[in-house]
């Protein structure tokens, strides 16, 4: 695979032995314990936010490789079921480690983004993803900058798709965000800014307008 492969899949953070395992999984999936590989990937994404942001990519490649090689979906199934396990215990995960919770949300959204089924997003993940975002929109989470940051990042990446799958829940989510922006005590000004930006972003049909780009993202020229 080489260096570009490493970077593309962000597997530098794994130890050498695990990196080798992953590389083999990509090239010759039937020769490895795919359930183990799935667990390794999920474990890592709960610890390493850089990895979880793009972990969907390596998962997608392994799934394709396995499907092509043996026409099975052991890896995908293990991955999803493990993801589901963590989802069920997410409240506990969050109280245990905010960082791990944020990593988890990043990961599941990335999976939703990358893993498609016959070119359609995975229906089974739509509500769980929404549930996670709703959780991030709760008052105690809005008070934490890292959670607000995670929330708006995910909405930037998958908001449009998510809305297409279920617009009612997106409406409900944004009601919460509006209220949060207006009423929530203890919001840092950065959090307020992030919320305002995402509200505008969605109002502009999930597109960046020039005015918003200028306001939120350009250097202030005095």
């Amino acid at each position: 695979m080489g260096e570009t492969g490493k970077e593309e899949y962000r597997i530098q953070s794994f130890d050498a032995e695990t990196q080798q395992l992953l590389k083999t999984a990509l090239k010759d999936p039937s020769s490895v314990d795919l359930e183990k590989v799935a667990n390794i990937i999920v474990d890592q994404s709960l610890q390493d936010c850089v990895f979880s942001k793009e972990a969907g990519r390596i998962c997608y490649t392994i799934i394709q490789a396995e499907s092509k090689q043996v026409g099975q979906s052991v890896f995908r199934r293990s991955l999803l079921n493990r993801l589901q396990q963590e989802y069920k215990d997410r409240e506990e995960l969050r109280s245990r480690s905010l960082q791990a919770w944020i990593c988890y949300v990043t990961f599941i959204c990335n999976i939703f983004d990358y893993l498609r089924v016959n070119n359609m997003p995975m229906m089974a993940l739509v509500n769980p993803v929404y549930d996670c975002l709703f959780r991030l929109a709760q008052p105690d989470s809005l008070r934490k900058e890292e959670e607000v940051d995670c929330l708006v990042l995910q909405l930037h990446r998958i908001g449009e798709q998510l809305e297409r799958m279920n617009s009612q829940r997106m409406d409900e989510l944004f009601s919460l965000l509006r209220d949060g922006f207006l009423l929530q005590e203890g919001l840092s000004s950065l959090s307020q800014l992030l919320l305002l930006e995402i509200i505008e972003f969605r109002a502009a049909d999930w597109k960046m307008t020039d005015a918003a780009q200028k306001y939120y993202y350009s250097e202030v020229t005095d």
Binding site: Q72, V117, Q168, E172
Partner: protein, 275 residues
């Protein structure tokens, strides 16, 4: 600008327009198979008994022959696999309909120019569109196709060289057939495919595969055979002695009812016609 008091329940207050009825209204069972309380509101994310199903699909369904509502499994792995099968089946039915239309048009053109009649009378007949039925049929077809025999067959006899009546043909899941008729077609088709089983070692009916695969496969065969319930019990002898299974595409949940008695009482077609 009025600020509404937001409660955790996402259903909205009286000032908001009534949201469209959730799919879950009227469903007798939740995704985990347990009966739902017959209240109007759906649980929010933070309810204690949080049973929000992980997708928007019906969480239970009834087949006419079935004993009652069959609850769908609620694990994501299987849910996605079923999704995949459903979308594939839908694509196939669209493609099949197009094919029928094209045949229809080309036949009309031929007959209007006075040439000979075409093979079959595919006047627009009613197709099988029941998703439950199509999925079940597709699973049965997949079992037949996930065999070494089938692999060898399609390699040996490309479709263009098939002789009808001689070479086995996959039953058409989009045509309307009774359950009994369909199951019989599948059985005969699978039996016919045995002609392409790889040559066996002396006396041993189980096909030789690499040791590693065999280990995995046995678990799979056993698992899937038991979940396939009576559907393959009749084929049991065939399945173990003659139909080696390659790795399967998916692990399937239990099938619906199968009229074993009916199948047993039906006379088998003449085996001699199968080469």
């Amino acid at each position: 600008m009025s600020f509404r008091q937001r409660s955790p329940h996402g259903g909205g207050t009286s000032s908001s327009p009534q949201p469209p009825p959730r799919w879950s209204q009227g469903r007798k069972r939740g995704a985990d198979g347990k009966r739902r309380k017959q209240n109007g509101t759906d649980s929010s994310v933070f309810d204690e008994n949080e049973h929000r199903p992980s997708d928007n699909r019906l969480d239970s369904f009834t087949t006419p022959e079935g004993p009652g509502p069959l609850s769908r499994c609620s694990d994501w792995g299987t849910a996605v696999e079923e999704d995949e099968m459903r979308t594939s089946v839908n694509k196939e039915i669209a493609r099949y309909r197009r094919k029928l239309l094209i045949n229809e048009f080309s036949r009309e053109r031929k007959s209007s120019s006075g040439s000979s009649d075409s093979k079959e009378s595919t006047v627009m007949v009613e197709l099988e569109t029941d998703e439950v039925v199509l999925m079940r049929r597709q699973k049965q077809i997949n079992y037949g196709k996930n065999t070494i025999a089938y692999d060898r067959y399609i390699k040996e006899v490309p479709r263009c060289h098939r002789i009808p009546g001689v070479h086995p043909r996959t039953p058409n899941k989009f045509k309307k057939y009774s359950r009994r008729s369909w199951d019989q077609q599948i059985k005969l088709w699978k039996v016919a495919l045995h002609s392409w089983d790889p040559p066996t070692e002396e006396g041993c009916d189980l096909q030789e595969i690499s040791p590693v695969d065999l280990g995995e496969m046995e678990t799979e065969s056993i698992g899937s055979n038991s979940t396939e319930s009576q559907t393959s019990s009749q084929d049991n002898d065939d399945t173990y002695s003659g139909t080696p299974t390659k790795v399967r595409h998916v692990d399937y949940q239990a099938e619906g009812e199968f009229d074993l008695e009916a199948c047993l009482s039906e006379p088998l077609k003449d085996f001699n016609t199968v080469s």
